[in-house]
């Protein structure tokens, strides 16, 4: 049924194309919609948390800006001070170049210098909100377990759901990945899983306090990957380091020219890099597609009532589909990140004796 509706809408669109061409000249006078600008504005971090624009009025949450400049020391002010175009306290938001969208100050010789920026930005605030939410959820569940005996009936409702998901992750991801030491790493990996899952899901809800693109921010995914990186390399066993520096390959591959050790050492860094980019790219892509589909409504709205209505209808259908897909992706990416982390940790815990 839905398939036919989509096809019908597409046919309507094709039939109306000549009319659009004719209409296009008339509407060309209007300011074109900057789709990529809108998408990037939503994907990127910002100094304030913009909620909605009603008419000409922007409603946004003002967030603290914390800067350290080598020229003028510490600065602390609210982002609402930046609303004027000439900036505040010598700082202004850079429009072009490498620092576009960031606060910069102008040096004595006229160049733009980026200060150390510790501002509590939209993403930073979202991390804190999601973190508090996650702690509240998990500690609430933990409290249930503290107040019950093992002989009691298993939990129902939300606590039961958390237990179900946690045990699924433990049994299907952590146990096979890490091996027999799984108990030691299960809390860490579960926290990783839920942190990513909650941030992914919160990113899909469009209204404050959710809606920030946290896991689509490369700094966030980098930090998460560093958690895995340090767990793997700090707790790596002798066997793990032996496999990197002196792997079981023919000697000519490692003796005069340390070919394999080089590749393995390179691998140490590519693993967290792949984790970083995978999560970042998946979330960014999902958000971009949903935003693009949303923008399409505003573009086609200018093309006349018939095409506007039919295409908006198609667009909404696609958005529903994409949101369902993103729900799935939110889960899958958290799952994959946890699975790969578990496997990397498992690989770093090998025993030398077991390999022989």
């Amino acid at each position: 049924m839905r398939k036919w509706l989509v096809i019908l809408s597409l046919m309507l669109m094709c039939a109306a194309t000549p009319a659009v061409a004719a209409d296009g000249d008339a509407s060309a006078e209007e300011e074109p919609i900057d789709v990529s600008g809108i998408i990037f504005e939503h994907l990127k971090d910002s100094y304030e948390w913009h909620i909605i624009t009603i008419g000409e009025k922007d409603i946004a949450i003002s967030l603290p800006v914390i800067l350290y400049s080598k020229l003028s020391g510490w600065h602390f002010f609210m982002s609402s001070e930046l609303e004027g175009s000439d900036g505040y306290d010598g700082f202004h938001i850079c429009q072009t170049g490498a620092f576009a969208g960031k606060l910069v100050e102008t040096d004595y010789d006229g160049t733009e210098v980026k200060p150390l920026d510790f501002s509590l930005t939209k993403v930073a605030l979202a991390i804190i909100i999601d973190g508090v939410l996650l702690m509240a959820i998990i500690l609430m569940c933990a409290a249930w377990y503290r107040n019950h005996e093992p002989s009691d009936a298993p939990p129902k409702g939300f606590v039961g759901l958390i237990e179900l998901v946690s045990m699924m992750v433990v049994d299907e991801v952590i146990k096979p990945g890490v091996g027999k030491e799984y108990r030691r790493f299960a809390p860490l990996l579960l926290t990783l899983f839920y942190f990513i899952l909650l941030n992914n899901l919160m990113g899909l809800i469009p209204i404050f306090p959710a809606g920030a693109n946290v896991t689509g921010n490369i700094a966030v995914t980098l930090t998460l990957a560093l958690v895995t990186f340090f767990t793997v390399n700090v707790l790596g066993t002798k066997g793990y380091w032996k496999e990197i520096l002196w792997p079981d390959v023919p000697t000519w591959l490692k003796c005069p020219m340390p070919l394999m050790p080089l590749i393995e050492i390179f691998g140490i860094f590519t693993k967290p890099f792949s984790l970083t980019v995978r999560l970042f790219a998946n979330m960014t892509a999902g958000h971009s597609i949903i935003l693009a589909l949303t923008c399409m409504i505003f573009i086609v709205a200018r093309m006349g009532p018939l095409i506007g209505t039919s295409m908006s209808f198609v667009s909404v259908l696609f958005m529903i589909f994409m949101n369902c897909l993103e729900l799935l992706v939110a889960y899958i990416q958290a799952y994959v990140f946890t699975m790969l982390s578990a496997m990397f940790i498992g690989m770093s815990r090998v025993n030398e004796e077991k390999k022989d």
Partner: protein
């Protein structure tokens, strides 16, 4: 494009916030849940074992019950049979005894009767003899005064004696 360059400030906030979240949840969050689930699984396993053992025990008790019941039935049948036998024997014995004592009583009675009859006969005979003697005395005394009479009487008496002898 700055979407791809990690921002130091975000990393700082992420380290701070996520660090706290990770610390709290690793220390007080998930171990509680995992421990509890492990303990519950252990408990369930133990309970299953106990239930199995109890079931087996119950089956054993049932078997024992059946055996006892069977034994009791057999015992009951045996006792009833024995009682019946004993009753039959007692009845038979009693009958036998009764028969014996009855025949004895009858035999005794017969001898008694015989003896009494003999006694009575003897008495009668004695009395008859006495009466005869007295009658004879009187007759003799009355008749022997005439000669004819005397000879008649002797004849008659001889006849009588002869007829008795003939009998």
């Amino acid at each position: 494009m700055d979407l791809l360059t990690p921002e130091a400030g975000t990393v700082f906030w992420m380290l701070l916030a996520a660090g706290i979240v990770f610390f709290v949840l690793i220390k007080w969050g998930f171990p509680v849940i995992i421990d509890m689930v492990d303990k519950r699984n252990e408990f369930i396993e133990k309970s299953l074992g106990a239930a199995k053992a109890a079931n087996e025990k119950l089956a054993g008790i049932q078997q024992e019950c059946d055996n006892i019941l069977k034994d009791t039935r057999a015992e009951q049948a045996r006792i009833i049979k024995e009682a019946t036998d004993r009753r039959d024997r007692i009845v038979a014995d009693a009958e036998q005894q009764a028969r014996e004592s009855a025949s004895k009583i009858v035999a005794d009675a017969r001898t008694q009767i015989q003896m009494e009859r003999d006694e009575a006969l003897r008495g009668i005979r004695r009395e008859v003899a006495e009466i005869s003697v007295q009658v004879a005395e009187k007759l003799i005394i009355g008749n022997l005064s005439e000669k004819q009479n005397q000879s008649d009487m002797i004849d008659r008496m001889i006849d009588e004696v002869e007829s008795i002898r003939k009998k």
